[in-house]
């Protein structure tokens, strides 16, 4: 259990949020052109990182908006929070 600092509502308990998985997986621009391998990569393959992970969260019991979080999955410490249209922090 941990707190998440929603960029719209402020700090709330994690139970108010829904995890949306790995961030920055971009939907292919031309899906009809994809090979089966590329579809598998887009749909199923995940980095599943132990350490610093970029991920999406939705404040479902609050503003219901999507945003991105940088979290250390080895200890659940959140490093940064940024809006869905912002670039991920580089440091």
């Amino acid at each position: 259990m941990f707190l998440i600092d929603c960029p719209f509502c402020g700090e709330r308990e994690q139970s108010e949020f829904k995890a949306g998985g790995e961030a920055h997986i971009i939907r292919p621009k031309q899906p009809t052109e994809l090979s089966d391998d590329e579809w598998a990569e887009y749909l199923f393959m995940r980095k599943n990182i132990k350490g610093i992970q970029f991920e999406r969260w939705n404040h479902i019991h609050g503003c219901r908006k999507w945003f991105n979080v940088v979290r250390d999955t080895s200890n659940d410490k959140i490093k940064a929070v940024y809006k869905i249209d912002e670039k991920p922090p580089t440091n």
Binding site: R46, E55, T73
Partner: protein, 417 residues
């Protein structure tokens, strides 16, 4: 067998106050080279090594474990064993394991305390009823024992369940697999470790894999905290950490690792003599031989390797438990813990070759791997030894995520994943 356990060895050792029992497995230093190395000393990994040595005559092999054997999910699960899965491929896989469980204590000369006390899955709404009836028929067509019980029969089989029609999720029926049950999880790891050790397998504890050495499209060895080990066959059975190991070889897997929690109560006199699982409210309960209630909760929905889950998951499970079993309302919970489970998009495991020659993965068992331990070890050993899957694990290959031939057991397997 040099140290056969029996009533006679027990009496003999009683005379020396049980102080002279031999070690069940050695503590070897790693050799420079092995014919195969298994990464991960849990139940599945040790079983793999055991069957590689026993059935495929591969004796020059090692199991490397970063902690101590059986210290991961093998020692953290709720020990439920059943094979009542919906699809043919899963039914074949899990029933293969159940058949081995039935003779395992004798085979290993180690009491794994396999207890066929039955597993009951409850239905709480009309869709549950339809799904469970469908699964009962599917199970029977696959030769798996399954019965559908109405509410009265559920109450008769497990009298402490609240079957009142006016609770939030009333019990409308359930399925029963009488051959299902529980086993002692630590004993499974220890039994396989002892058996494998006796056939010459090196079990190397406190040895963490740091890197996998590749030469083009094949593996050549592993770099560990105890030095480099040369090998051309690596079987990875690392559960929640499978993606971490895959990453070392430059491979990506369709897995997400999440915390799954369980808890036990204070010990009480026998009160529930079976295992009851409830899909809709996600609560399952059984009673250990010590008398503790063993309760399984659900997974958190975010990726985490922290081995601790959220409090509200436990709270939700206990709410459901209390409504179904009002008799437990004043029991105190003694311990709670989390394990990291690796979940596949279709909630079925991967027991497979990979695109890298000599690298094999046995992972993705998610929330229900313990029940499959013997079967998983047997089939993975077959896959490693022959470089080809056995027909029972052929469907559980990595390529199914490309071909789309998924084994979708989400929900259908009688428990929500």
């Amino acid at each position: 067998m040099k140290n056969r356990y029996s009533i006679f060895s027990l009496i003999k050792n009683a005379f020396s106050y049980h102080e002279n029992w031999g070690k069940a497995w050695k503590d070897p230093t790693p050799k420079k080279e092995y014919d195969a190395v298994i990464v991960g000393g849990g139940g599945h990994g040790l079983a793999t090594a055991y069957y590689l040595a026993k059935k495929h005559n591969m004796k020059n092999i090692a199991v490397v474990e970063k902690g101590w054997i059986g210290g991961g999910n093998t020692g953290r699960n709720t020990t439920i064993i059943r094979s009542n899965y919906l699809w043919d491929a899963s039914a074949g896989l899990y029933n293969h394991a159940l058949k081995i469980w039935e003779g395992l204590s004798q085979e290993l000369n180690y009491n794994v305390m396999f207890s066929q006390r039955g597993v009951m899955n409850l239905a709480h709404n009309l869709q549950d009823v339809r799904d469970l009836k469908r699964r009962t028929h599917a199970n029977r067509l696959n030769g798996i024992d399954a019965e559908y019980l109405n509410t009265k029969e559920v109450k008769k089989f497990c009298p402490i369940i609240n079957t009142s029609p006016d609770i939030r999720y009333p019990v409308l029926g359930g399925t029963l697999q009488r051959r299902a049950g529980t086993a002692r999880h630590d004993a499974v790891a220890w039994g396989y470790a002892r058996g494998a050790d006796e056939m010459g397998v090196d079990i190397i504890q406190n040895c963490e894999v740091k890197a996998i050495k590749r030469n083009g499209d094949r593996v050549e060895g592993i770099e560990t905290t105890k030095g480099f080990i040369k090998t051309y066959k690596i079987g990875v059975v690392a559960a929640g950490h499978s993606s971490v190991i895959a990453n070392m070889a430059g491979l990506k897997l369709p897995l997400e690792s999440k915390p799954l929690q369980a808890l036990v109560s204070e010990p009480v006199k026998p009160v529930i003599d079976t295992v009851v699982m409830s899909n809709a409210v996600h609560a399952y309960v059984s009673q250990s031989d010590k008398g503790e209630l063993v309760i399984g909760a659900g997974t958190d929905d975010y990726v985490s390797y922290s081995q601790k889950g959220s409090h509200e998951i436990v709270e939700g499970t206990l709410n459901a438990i209390l409504e179904l079993y009002p008799i437990f309302s004043r029991m105190r919970m003694l311990r709670q813990w989390g394990g990291i489970v690796d979940i596949c998009p279709d909630a079925s495991p991967i027991v497979s070759k990979t695109s890298i020659k000599g690298l094999y993965f046995n992972c993705g068992w998610g929330t229900g791997g313990f029940k499959a331990t013997p079967g998983s070890g047997d089939l993975f050993a077959h896959t490693i030894a022959n470089d080809e899957p056995h027909k029972l694990n052929a469907a559980f290959n990595l390529n199914r995520f490309v071909s789309g031939d998924l084994v979708d057991e989400h929900g259908a397997a009688a428990v929500a994943h």
